[in-house]
Amino acid sequence: MAEMNLLQAINSALDLAMKADEQVLCFGEDVGQFGGVFRASSQLQEKYGSDRCFNTPLTEQGIVGFANGLAAQGMRPVAEVQFADYIFPAFDQIVNETAKYRYRSGNQFDVGSLTIRTPYGGGIHGGLYHSQSPEAYFTHTPGLKIVVPRNPYQAKGLLLASIQDDDPVLFFEPKRLYRAAVGDVPEDAYTLPLSKAEIVREGQDLTLVAWGAQVEVAEAAAQQASESGIECEVIDLRTLLPWDSDTIAESVRKTGRLIVTHEAPRTSGFGAEICATLQEMCFLSLESPIMRVTGLDTPFPLALEKEYLPNALKLVDAIHDSLNY
């Protein structure tokens, strides 16, 4: 065990993956000598050489296209997109290619060994283009797996599992936590299961579902609610596709109430899918409508970021609304 922040945990996962398997490559803009603008790939070029860890030209569609080719060839690429806000030029390569490679070829070719890492989310004064949470866009794409860790321990175990997994994984890293989240992390390799949600706090009055940096917001809200005697169950979804509806349903059958929270704009955020599925699975158990506490339906702002973001206070208000329904 060592104390690591989330970035160090990511770096450790990449390091161990490259050490264990020669076919693992890490690349992206500034990923090489410099170690990435956040330093997630720090020292990797030094350790494993510039054939396996390198800078790419500045083209996200090229990075993911190149990575698709490498994966089809049998390599195990871990491509970085510098900010999730800049993943959109690669949307076609991800949605039309990565996701459909295996299906369209009748399983003759696949890019299952691919992992795409990208820092996402707000809270760092990034404004429109350094704050977005675009995960929901990808959840509408069968063939992809989507993973979001909430802390250093989760980050390392989930990233190692993603790299080993034989389906393509989009790995969203909550950049607000890169240095802010610190915790004990085993130094050796370990994996955590994909497509499995985790109950991070038990309670019987209401279920809160979140992922990434929003989990600690939900935990804070649960803590505050608990002070007025309301016990929330907090669930970290961890994998958004294919996702674990059973764990949530079980909780909701117990609590009768559900709130989903995410930073992304409300309309067609992944909260919508959770509501849609859970109202069907738990129709007879629900005592109030499922609520969503999310970013506004606007681009991400700068000066009024605090007003925009779904914080613990907003969640506590929603918890009361749900209980008083």
Partner: protein, 396 residues
Amino acid sequence: MSDQRHWAEHQVNQPVFSDSLQQAIPTFCVLQTDGQVYPDATMPDIDQSLAQKIYRTSCFIRALDERMLASQRQGRISFYMTETGEEAADIGSCAALTDDDLIMGQYREQGALAFRGFTVDQFMNQIFSNEQDLGKGRQMPVHYGSRELNYMTISSPLTTQLPQAAGYAYGMKLRGQSSCVICYFGEGAASEGDFHAALNMAAVKHAPVIFFCRNNGYAISTPAHEQYAGDGIASRGPGYGIRTIRVDGNDMLAVLKATQDARAYAVESQKPVLIEAMTYRLGAHSSSDDPTGYRSRKEEQLWRHKDPVERFKLWLMAQGWWDEAQDQALKEEYRQSVSNAMKRAEKIPAPHLRDLVTDVYQQVPAHLEAQFASLEAHIQRHPEAYPKTAGRLHHG
């Protein structure tokens, strides 16, 4: 120092603009329209057996394309694309490769696949989307693929295969394989952003890939002069630092020679090459297209005189490697084999219902199993509405 740019050496004190087309890129030709080799032309490495294999493949593709287009008109298949007029481009280039070189096509390179040994039944099973299609009946006709033959499954979104080719080739290089990727695309597809990303990344990362552009004058109805304003696609190569050659795309020997040299260079120096083959699509873009809306019969006629297969046949005959009797027999043989294979393929049933949900992921995830179960139950309730699958549930 990390700044390794060199540019200060060559100074001028007058504002000299480099103009486009200042110096056109020449076109490499070996074979004249009458089947004679240009005097002093550099010949490819070719013997009788290779020459015959190339010619046979070309004839097979003509037979296939003709019959399938007719079948589409008869409503027996939904869609088809011919490569008529462009056989020298894909067959001539593919003949320069070894079998472990990967082929990534756009969609009009069935010739390369036939050259590799894809059987007439394999073609038919794909075209008829039956349960023996290697692609499990999921994609439209002509979207072939064969892992065994190192022929990547075709994907309709244009140009996506180009950066993938660079990555695939880079993987080959890291493994120390002495093979390369050949990646075909049209002059229309070359306008996509992925083209730019691919050529630049391949150049920077020294990936052994042959970018092979079939410049056939049109992207559906859009003529080349509305597609680009420079000197074709070849003129872009040097800008990326990529070795480049333009070749007469209707000249089997020139295409073969250019690709042999390109392959040797790509594999030995582990770098990309760009080949632009100037040719013409004699048929419609696809069975959904009618070219009379955008070009004249006269223009097409002009190009019929440059038919790459006829030209190559004349050369073959001049070598004493082929005669008319053989030619008639071969064409009849292919007509028959295509026709018979078509009849076989039509009788093979559609894929099983289970093929709807497999291969999305390596394993069918729980939510998709649930969707499948409810679909199956639905079909069992209404078997008459699903004739393709209702009789064969629980087989998968």
